[in-house]
């Protein structure tokens, strides 16, 4: 099948998917064909060679995974493609450093309004944070109690996020200035750039 602009989006969680949608929407040549919430990186890693095969057969895929505690992106890709040819150019395997929460903080405007905290309390380069989610949790001290209770897991719970975590943060993805965020989050800028290159290939009909 010749390369088309209908792209498959895969991410580890709903916030990752929301960023993926936002980035794809920037290009008229690209249309979101299908999205998959992989619920963590286990399923992405398991299926990565299948996504690669799809890309080789004309169905591009934008796969967004989190770096989490790994030292660097290159190592992650090498590990996933060990003994194999690297990813095809139409499989955009992008690593978010370290979690999509860092990208959310890269344009702190919408998040600072939700948490009722000053923008200066956010780091200038959020990708340098070792644990962006924890950093965000620490910022909820000044937030209205409804927001705090929605974002934070209950005390003593093993849950990773609060009951309304996704519902509260999802609207912020469409509110933030993606250009501004990309200047402060290099992995976001790189993902944007690669999607731009794919869009150009699709527009030019290059296979």
């Amino acid at each position: 099948m010749p390369l088309s602009g209908y792209i498959m989006l895969v991410a580890e969680d709903v916030i990752g998917l929301a960023f993926g949608r936002r980035l794809i929407q920037e290009h008229a040549a690209l249309n979101l064909w299908r999205e998959t919430n992989a619920h963590g990186n286990g399923a992405i890693r398991r299926d990565i060679l299948k996504y690669d095969s799809m890309a080789r057969n004309g169905v591009p895929a934008f796969v967004l995974t989190d770096l989490d505690a790994r030292p660097c992106c290159r190592l992650l890709i090498d590990e996933w493609f060990s003994g194999q040819q690297g990813p095809h150019q139409d499989l955009l395997l992008r690593v978010c450093v370290r979690e999509p929460e860092a990208w959310l903080m890269a344009d702190p405007g919408p998040l600072s309004r939700l948490l009722r905290t000053a923008e200066r309390n956010f780091p200038k380069y959020p990708e340098t944070l070792p644990d962006p989610k924890q950093f965000l949790y620490n910022l909820t001290r000044t937030a209205p109690s409804k927001v705090r209770k929605g974002l934070l897991p209950a005390v003593g719970s093993t849950a990773k996020i609060g009951p309304e975590y996704n519902d509260l943060l999802l609207p912020l993805v469409s509110q933030l200035d993606i250009g501004k965020a990309a200047k402060r989050a290099p992995s976001l800028a790189k993902a944007r750039q690669r999607l731009g290159e794919l869009a150009a290939r699709v527009a030019a009909g290059v296979m």
């Binding site: 099948m1 299908r34 299926d47 299948k50 996504y51 799809m54 057969n57 004309g58 169905v59």
Partner: protein, 389 residues
Amino acid sequence: MNVASLTVKNWMNFKELNGVPLHTRNYVIGANAVGKSNFLDVFRFLRDVASPAGAKPVAGGLQEAVNRRDGISKLRCLHGKDSEVLIDITLTDGRDRWRYKLGFKGEGKANNRVIITQEIVIKNGHSLLECQRPDKDDTQDPDRLTATYLENPNANKQFRVLAHYLSAINYLHLVPQLLKHADEIGGNRLNRDPFGQGFLQRVAETNGKTQGARLRRIQTALNKIVPEFQELSFRQDEITGAPHLVVTFKHWRLKGAYQNERQFSDGTLRLIGLLWSLMEGDSLLLLEEPELSLNESIVKRLPKLISHVLKSGKFADRQVILSTHSESLLSDLSIGAESVIRFVSTRGGTMLKPADAREEVMLKSGFSVGQALLPAVKPDGAEQLVLGL
């Protein structure tokens, strides 16, 4: 005999479904309310029509089958302007190829009976002269058009095999609570007992040797899932005569503990019902969402379990049509896209949606039908469900 294809017009959600091919195993998928159960109901309807009036355990016939579905106005498709409902089914038994076509509509008078607009039986490409309706007799006596030849043993001699096959179609959507609380709920049971309320009665009516053999096989299967599950047997209450399934559970006491169906988990009961149905009969089996109440690891193995039970019961080719929402059930890589019947809702009624070119690429890349085909029937608004409340 197996159903090879089905065409329906003006049937519930379906304005028109043309030649849906059916295989030995069929998996019906689609969003809620798209018409999966109504698709299965076509086969149940034919079963109801084919069962002759006064037959046990069901009084059948066309009028009764339509009445059971609240009349022709509830049965017709809301999207269609046509008043005729049409079912056209092709069946094959390896030797002969049969086609049965039934069209009917409301009579349009006060009693609103249903009258047959066409009833045709074709065997190996040739119409059976005995069944090409309306015929000369029908024209002289229009009341004849209220009953099919299929339901009439005096008229279906040439295609009795078809009537037998259709009347033996089995449907199961076991609702554990109905079975557990059958005594309190009372004796009202729906026709053909689709929800398994009288399941224990069916077990009771099976002859001792067959009953014992089936229960032993179910026990072996269940023991793999629940290791404490030791011995499954059937007992009749000495005083009331009520049938019960009894199981011995391994326990700290030497003899273990006895439990009857009221103490079984919903999943255990559904699994027992499923396994029993697979071993009962060899006609088309319709299963409604067999994944309900079951652990995901068991759901993943259901397709293999179904094949295994049928194979070991000498009915390896028994046809099964099951409806499901489960990606786990469809993660079995032995399920091909051709056995998936996917329905999507459109402005003109529910339509069949085969795999498109990109989904074909997904399947060729090694994804399961659950991963490749199921996401397309996911409701768009599901993520906003909570926010909308």
